[in-house]
Amino acid sequence: MTKSVVFPLSQPTRGAGGPTGTWRTIRPVLDPEKCNGCLLCWIFCPEGVIRKEDRSVDYDYCKGCGICAVECPQKAFTMVKEEEE
């Protein structure tokens, strides 16, 4: 019995919803000088694309919702327009 065909089981996969970085029209850009490491951006990011260690953003999957920029008490994130290719 081939399990994959028999049972409707899925496996956790990065980008299960596709390359969601392409959804963005604006992107968060961190100014590391302003960041005090409070981690609010990390916990409020719905997608978990902000790294706990250095608050760097995984732009492959960041959807550009902008919550990090609104919630940052230091205003360390700026939302900037995606570069037009």
């Binding site: 899925s10 996969t13 916990i43 999957y61 959807k63 919550i67």
Partner: protein
């Protein structure tokens, strides 16, 4: 007990690149829940945005093992799964610590179609946590009214505003005299984390409802999702509290508002920026409506403060 964000575990229930809307409150809250529950957990979902967010088979955005079952099934399925795990661990067919079984279900699956099963599981005191992420509408199917949709809010099935109020489901769950009930908010992640950790440590039926403003449904900017959650609490429209076996305790800041030690912000500051209330804000009777909603909030606070005395 105070927990610091840096102490939150690395556990991630949500894998980046989900199919959820940008800024979705469900995946946001679920990340906090995952950190509080840890790896040893099994999730059950019924049709909802959280299911639409998974991605398509054979891919999934959830790293926690997840069962997707039918809409009215959450209460019975979680109860059944938890009891079956008890049997398998007692018989030695599974070894180690029993995983925490939890439901991640919307307000449709909790307030409405799923309520019978959830009420029955609560009465049986089945051992699992039921989470309701309450976005106050059937957002998955395009924002129709639910039993959690508040008075005057527009949805696609209440295009001129809902004419009746929402039910107080967390209170109904408290009246089941279950071991633990709590309400929480996206804007207060420490409070949510603490409540989840507490629920995890208690055997029996636990209910946690997370207020989850849905920007496409409520019509505000995605970036303001946490802000909207905060305004809901600060206006008194959403209250933070917890209860054990029918005994209710209000949490701050709700407790301060109820005791008159702090003032709520006007309800207009909360709803005025939501498109679902635009018809009220433009109405010639705007002030009457706002006064009514303000009165509703006041009454809620007085009622819950009184209930907390019991």
């Amino acid at each position: 007990m105070s927990v610091k964000l840096k102490d939150f575990s690395e556990t991630e229930f949500v894998v980046s690149g989900s199919a959820a809307c940008a800024g979705c409150p469900s995946v946001m809250a679920l990340r906090v829940v995952g950190k509080a529950l840890g790896e040893n957990a099994i999730m059950i979902m019924t049709p909802s945005c959280a299911v639409a967010s998974i991605g398509l088979l054979p891919k999934s955005c959830y790293s926690v093992p997840t069962l997707n079952i039918c809409f009215a099934s959450a209460g019975a399925s979680a109860g059944g799964m938890s009891l079956a795990l008890d049997a398998l661990y007692e018989k030695g067919r599974l070894q180690g610590e029993k995983p925490t079984v939890f439901n991640w279900v919307g307000d449709g699956g909790t307030y409405d179609i799923g309520f019978q099963g959830i009420s029955a599981a609560a009465e049986r005191n089945d051992d699992f946590i039921h989470f309701c992420y309450n976005n106050e509408a059937y957002s998955n199917t395009g924002v129709q009214r639910s039993g959690a949709t508040p008075l005057y809010a527009t949805t696609t099935t209440t295009p001129f505003g809902k004419e009746v109020n929402r039910k107080n489901l967390p209170l109904l769950m408290l009246e089941h005299r279950i071991p633990y009930v709590a309400t929480a908010s996206l804007a207060y992640p420490m409070d949510l984390y603490r409540k989840v950790a507490k629920a995890k440590s208690i055997k029996g039926f636990k209910y946690i409802e997370v207020h989850a403003p849905c920007y496409p449904g409520w019509k505000f900017a995605a970036s303001d999702t946490v802000q909207m959650s905060r305004l809901a609490v600060k206006s008194g429209a959403w209250m933070l509290w917890e209860g054990e076996y029918g005994k209710l305790t209000l949490n701050n800041p709700t407790a301060l508002y109820a005791q008159g030690k702090a003032a709520t912000i006007p309800v207009e500051e909360y709803i005025g920026c939501q498109g679902r209330y635009a018809h009220l804000m433009k109405s010639p009777e705007k002030d009457t409506y706002l006064a009514e909603l303000e009165e509703e909030v006041k009454r809620g606070l007085i009622f819950m403060a009184g209930r907390a005395e019991l």
